[in-house]
Structure formats: C-alpha cells, structure tokens
C-alpha cells in the first residue's frame, strides 16, 4: 500500500482511495448542483412574469420535477457522502474506508443512474412530470413511458446509497483508532453514523415504493388503485416513510459540519457535546414516526392528524438543543469571521428560520392553508439551501486547504458568501409571502397579484446562481493558484486528528493508527499519544 496515486484517468476510474473517491463524489455533486441549478433558472425565468413566455407547461413541470430529484439525490446527498469519504477516516484515525472497492462502486453507480434519469428528458412523452415526490396516480396511471427509466434509475441510486452507508457504518464501528471511543468521535462522524443508519433503514422503503409503482404500471397490480382495493394514499405513506427521514439524511451531516466549524472559529470546544449526540439520535428516532405531516390535507382520521402534529412539533425540542449549543459555543468565544464561519453562522440563523416555518406547517389546522403553496417551497429551501448547501459550502472552504495544500482568497470567499446570503434571501423570503397569499407550487403561471414578488424572487435566483459560479471560480483558483501552505493545523483554533496529518493530506494517512489519550472531550491534548510518524508520510508521498 505504500504508493501514491496512479497516473492518468485510471486513477479515478479504478481507485480504492477514500480521498480520491471523496473528490469524485464532490465533483459529481457540484456538476449535478449546476445542472439542477440550471433547471431552477429555467423555472424562475418562466415565473419572472405571469403568462407563458419561454417554455410549455408540460416542460415546466418536468423542470420542477427534475430540479428536485437532481438536487436531492444528485447534488446534496453525494456532496455529504463526498465529505464523509474524505473526512471520516481522517477524523477517526483510519487508513481508509472499511470496504474500499465497494466504496468505488457506490460512487460509480451514480453517473450511470443520473445519465439514465436525465436522458428521460429527451424521450418520447418527456421526462418525469409528477413532481419530485412522484405521487400516484400521477406517476402511475398518468405517467409517460419514461417513468420506467426513472424507476430503475432510482433503484440503482438506492443501491449506491445503501452500499455507501453500510461502508460508513462499518468504518465508524470498526476502524476507529485505539482510544477513539464513541463519545470522543467528532460530531461530524456521529451525525454521519446516524445518517447512514437512516439511509440503510429508508432507502429500501423507497425501493419498495418504486417497485410498487413498477408493478402497478406494467403488471396489473393494484397497490395504488382503489378499484382493486388499494389506495393512492398508500403511495404517500410509503413514500413519506422514506421521505421524512430523507430530510434528516440531508440535514444531519450539515449539523455535523457546522458543529466542527463553529468551535474552530470560536476557539472553544463545542458546548454540550454529549447533548449534541443525544439530540441527533433523538431527531433520527423521531424522523421515523412523523411522516404523515406531509399528508394533512389527504383525508386522514382526526386521531392521525393530531398524532402526527404533536409528534412533529416534538422534533423542535432536540433541534432547539442543537441551536442552543451552537450559539452557546460562540458565546464569549474569541470569534473570527472567516468564510466557513460566516456560512456556518448564516446556517444557524437561516436554518432556525426554516425550522420555525416548519413548526408553522406542523400545525395540522393551519397547514390546510399552507399546503402545496409557495410557503412550503420557501420553507424547505430555507432548510435545504441555507441549511444543507450553506453548510456544504462552509465545509468546502474549511477543508479545501487541508485537501490541496493551498489557501483560498479570503476576500473572494467573503464576497461569495455575501452574494449568496443576500441573493438567497431575495429569492426565498418573498416566496413565503406568495405562499401565504395563496400561490400554489408547481404551476407555470400565476395570477397577476403575485407578479411583484415573483419578479423579485427570480432576480434573486439568478443572483444566487451567479454566487455558485463564483464558488466554482474560487475553488478552481484555489486549487490552481492558491497560496501554498504547509501548516498541518491550517486554522488556529482547529482541533481534531485531521489537523495532525500534514497539509496537503498525503495520499495515505494513518497507515499506522494513532493512539488517542484518555482525557476530556474536545481538549487539544486528547488527540495525540503516539504521534503518527511524519517521516513515513514523507516517504509515502515521495514514492508516489
């Protein structure tokens, strides 16, 4: 194993290295992010004015569908898997992921799955046109033929997620360095362990949902058809049993990232480490028992409405614990505001805002007004974009210097942050107003009274799109021309095993596991007992 990366394209196609695979995931997810973003631009361009200007309604609904699918399954999830691949072995002192070849397989399924999914747009009858939640009977009885391609691409995408998660679980459970007990693991590792558990639990249910669709469409079963004794609402139950945990699958790793970054720039250990762990576990548990809060208007018995309402509200408690801990970590800290910190603080503020609108939506009686309006769209973009995407961006700025040994330009980073932050709010804040005023989601046209805020929102969306190009520019510039650094720590306040290996991180790290001292969580001293031998890294990199 004492060798560097292979030469040429083969390095990326056949790699078993967690850092290479992490990079692949990150690159792929960024490409999907731009693609999903392009779909969003088409949507916002059409919605700039009332009436139909640019595209047909049939294409519009395909765009909203594909935007959701590509962003959720192609951009956000793989981005965090990429971060997990890069960082978890570094953080727990492991030589690599537990099952490196399966790791490569998990990644390479994705390009095939998305090639199939995106190709549906060019098929006869068009691509998926039933929303990213693909409710039956829209996605069964009334779906275009291409739905079959959608179904099978979801199958292999799910297989990729399950294998990726099993790998993460096995890595965390089996590959921790001696002395790295569970309650010493960095929060990012904890949140990913729990996320991976959620994935293994619910991706098979999604596979079940699309399998039922497949059977109903092609083989005459009646899962979602009341004529045969089934029920379209059954689809919603199965889907949301997957779908609600899915939103935590997206946000828990984001919590983990922010829990790494805030202590660094506060120069204080994370406040309430163990309560963070328990809160994460509590959120994961609750996520299994609240799914029907997406279905308040579908006609559930009153007992169901009440149960799902109260259970959903309960999630605010562990989530509140987390927000409290982040704020308290910053309280009386020696704060500095580098780009990752700015994104993290924005995350805390905007995610909390999105959490509050979530609480509003959880009130069953009030939800009847909000349901399927732009209020919902605004709500979940606050948690998906200002939550997951902001934290992913923070993570890239935070760890990029460690990955490539070059520092990004702080000014450019801050410019990108402020453009993104302002543009995000211009885009999505007005959508709350639109939704409360009654504008339904997924429509390609709207009443004249919604014009002004839609124009504002569209302008913001294009600005926000620009901010992502700026991010791309920043990353490329850093990797190519960024100022060279070699301080293992990179950030003054950074704590953790990943900051003990040289910068840039050598191709192989912790070939020999470090031994972790007994001691208080988060204190700097607990990290090293037996320093990993840097000399051996030198030879490793030289040999490569």
């Amino acid at each position: 194993m004492a060798h560097g990366p292979a030469k040429g394209l083969g390095r990326w196609l056949f790699t078993t290295n967690h850092k290479d695979i992490g990079t692949l995931y990150l690159l792929f997810s960024f490409a999907m992010f731009l693609l999903g973003g392009a779909f969003a631009m088409i949507i916002r361009a059409e919605l700039f004015q009332p009436g139909m200007q640019l595209i047909e309604p049939e294409f519009f609904i395909q765009m909203t569908t594909m935007h959701g699918l590509v962003m959720v399954f192609g951009a956000i999830m793989p981005a965090f898997v990429g971060l997990a691949n890069w960082m978890i072995p570094l953080m727990i002192g492991a030589p690599d992921m537990a099952l490196p070849r399966m790791n490569n397989l998990s990644f390479w399924i994705l390009p095939f799955a998305f090639a199939i999914l995106v190709s549906t747009l060019f098929m006869e009858g068009g691509g998926p046109n039933f929303g990213w939640t693909f409710y039956a009977p829209l996605s069964t009885t009334y779906a275009p033929d291409s739905v079959n391609y959608f179904i099978f691409s979801m199958h292999i995408m799910g297989a990729s997620s399950i294998m990726g998660s099993i790998n993460i679980i096995a890595t965390v459970m089996n590959m921790r360095a001696p002395g790295m007990t569970y309650m010493k693991m960095p929060l990012f590792v904890w949140t990913w362990l729990i996320t991976a558990f959620l994935l293994v639990a619910v991706m098979p249910v999604l596979a079940g949902a699309v399998t039922m669709m497949l059977m109903d469409i092609n083989f005459g079963t009646s899962f979602f058809n009341a004529a045969g004794g089934g029920d379209p609402v059954l689809f919603q139950h199965v889907f949301w049993f997957f779908g609600h945990p899915e939103v935590y699958i997206i946000i828990l790793p984001a919590f983990g990232v922010v829990s790494q970054i805030i202590p660094t720039y506060s120069r204080k250990p994370l406040f309430g480490y163990s309560s963070m762990v328990y809160a994460t576990a509590a959120i994961a548990f609750l996520s299994f028992v609240v799914w029907a809060h997406h279905m308040f208007t579908v006609g559930m018995p009153i007992a169901g409405e009440l149960y799902f309402m109260y259970a959903t509200m309960l999630i605010a408690v562990p989530t509140g614990v987390k927000v409290f801990n982040w704020i308290t970590t910053m309280y009386r800290g020696a704060l500095t505001y580098e780009t990752p910190m700015l994104f993290s603080i924005a995350f805390v503020i905007l995610f909390t805002f999105g959490g509050f609108t979530g609480l509003m939506l959880s009130v069953a009686a009030a939800d009847i007004q909000y349901h399927d309006t732009y209020f919902v769209v605004a709500h979940f973009h606050y948690v998906m974009v200002a939550g997951a995407v902001f934290s992913g961006t923070a993570a890239v700025y935070y760890w990029l210097p460690k990955w490539c040994g070059r520092m990004y330009d702080e000014t450019m980073g801050k410019v990108q942050f402020w453009v993104a932050f302002i543009a995000f709010n211009i885009t999505f804040m007005p959508q709350h107003f639109l939704g409360l005023a009654g504008m339904p989601r997924r429509y390609s046209d709207y009443g004249l009274q919604f014009t002004d805020w839609n124009m504002v929102s569209s302008v913001g969306a294009f600005l926000y799109g620009g901010a992502q190009l700026l991010l791309l520019y920043n990353i490329v510039r850093t990797v190519k021309y960024g100022q060279l650094i070699d301080d293992p720590k990179v950030w003054e306040g950074a704590i953790g095993l990943e900051w003990l290996v040289p910068t840039p991180a050598p191709y192989h790290t912790f070939v020999k596991p470090p031994v972790i001292k007994e001691g208080a969580v988060g204190a700097e001293e607990w990290l090293i007992d037996e320093t990993p031998s840097y000399a051996s890294y030198k030879t490793v990199t030289d040999a490569g």
Partner: protein
Amino acid sequence: MASEGTYYVPEQSKLPIFCAAAMGVMAFGAASWVIEGGDPFIFLCGLALMTVVMWQWWSLVIDENMQGLADEQLKHSYVLGMLWFIFSEVMFFAAFFGALFYVRFFVNAWIGGEASFGMFDNTPTDAAVANNELLWTGYERQWPVMETPDQAVNGESALFKGPDRSMSLPLWEYPVSQWLSKLYTLLPWLPLWNTVILLTSSFTVHVAHNGLKAGDRAVFLRYLGITVMLGFLFLGLQVAEYYEAYAHYGLTLESGIYGTTFFMLTGFHGAHVTLGTVMLLIQLVRGMKGQFSQDDQFGFEAASWYWHFVDVVWLGLFLVVYIFG
C-alpha cells in the same frame, strides 16, 4: 478497534466500475424491456456482464482471504457489512408488510364505508361514507378481498376481479367446533409444508455450522447439502402453489389487492430464497473444495445468516398472509 497497521486496503481495481456499468445497463435494459414492445436484450447483456463481474469479485475476495490478507479487523468489516445488508433487506420487506397492513385495516374499511380502528369511536368518517356511497357503491369491507370495489361497481366488466379462492388457512371455512374433525384439510395445504421445510432447513444449516466449527467436515457437507436440497424443495412447492393459484383459484397478480399483496410478498420472499439457496450452494462447492477451516468460514456464515433471515420473513408471511390471510 484497530490493530497495528495491518488493515488490508486493496490496490486499484477495475471490478467496481464494471459492476456499476453492469447495473446501469441492467437498469436501462429493464426499463426498455417493460415498456410495451420492448425486448430483454439490453437487460440480458447487463446481466451477463454482472455475472462475470460478480464471479471475478468473489473469486478475488476468496483468493485474498486464502493468502491471509484479511485480518480479524477486515473480517469484522465483512460481518458488519453483511448484517447491515440484511437489515436493509428487512426494511424492504417492511415496506410491503406495511402496505398489506394499511390496505387491510384502513383502506379496506374506508372503501367499505366503515371506520378503521376507531380510536375514539367507531363512527365512520364522512370521507369513508362518501367513498362507499358515491365511488364504490355496494362494496363491503372484506378480507381477503374476493370481490373488488371495481367488481362491486362494474360487475362483469370490471378490470380487477377478485380470486375464486384465497390461500388462507382452510380451517377458516368451518366453525371452530369442527376444526378437529377437519384437520385433514391441512394435509394438502402447501404453506404448512413450506413452513416445515424452511424451519427444518434453518435447523440443518445450524447443524452444518456446528459441524464446521467442530472440524467435522462430513457433518458440515452432509447437512449443508440437505439444506440446499430443502431450499430447492421449497422453491418447487412454491412454483406448484403459484400454478395452482393461476390455474385453479383465479388468483393472479391482477386479481385486486389480495392477489397483489399475496404475490408480491411471497414472490419477493421466493426471490430471496432463490438467492439464499444459490449462496448456500456456492458455499457447499467451496466446502467440498476445502476452503473453510474451523475458525475461518465467513462466506458460509454470511450465507447462513441470510438463510435464517429468509426463514424469519417466511414466519411473518405464514402468519399474516396465510394463517390470518
């Protein structure tokens, strides 16, 4: 916990990306196959590629293990991988069991204009009443659904027609007082025999495992062989049952929600039994080649865990699909 730098991190490998490509081709091929006028050619190409890749991959892993590259820690990774894979399979079945539960206890009541569980009282909701009066007039709550809502409304021209007979316990047709005298009706009831077969096979695979651990190769091979045979026997009986259902019971995939849930649950279980049998068969061949030792037998253990899992799923099926079906 990690030992001293011995964890085996494999070199670059071409297998994963070919495996991913095979999955992509299979997915694309399957989709184009199910669409009307499609053919299985692309799918079969993918399947062929997948078979080759899997063969190579497992051979590689076995080779590595024989060379002693896999230490205890790596083997533990395999153990974790297998156990969590089985957990994901459990969740896959949970989706279908959940669907059965929901249609049986909720949907069926609501289409029939009744209250479901009646947590607070047993008054049907307005929606349920309207459902039955306006949409599915004349449908009566029933399980198994022998007359679909479609039939209740459209009679002979219905698209979904319920089966003539269900697969549930024959004794339900008689009052409890006659059960003893009607016990003989259970004799030709295939699910009972299938249950006996699978339970026995779980036992025999366990005996085989004990034999292996005790270093008794003869016992290991004999009982593993019996297990594999029982697996094939189960599958044979399942085929016979399906034939009976299609030919004599009017019970098909298309016969409403009862046929849907019956065939999907038992069908997926059957598919898993097939996979499990193949896995055990491969272990049997490996065992005959002498690839297992008293303390190194992960391939066999993994297959036997899978077998026990398939067995447990069957017990669930036997209860909710057959006995109380």
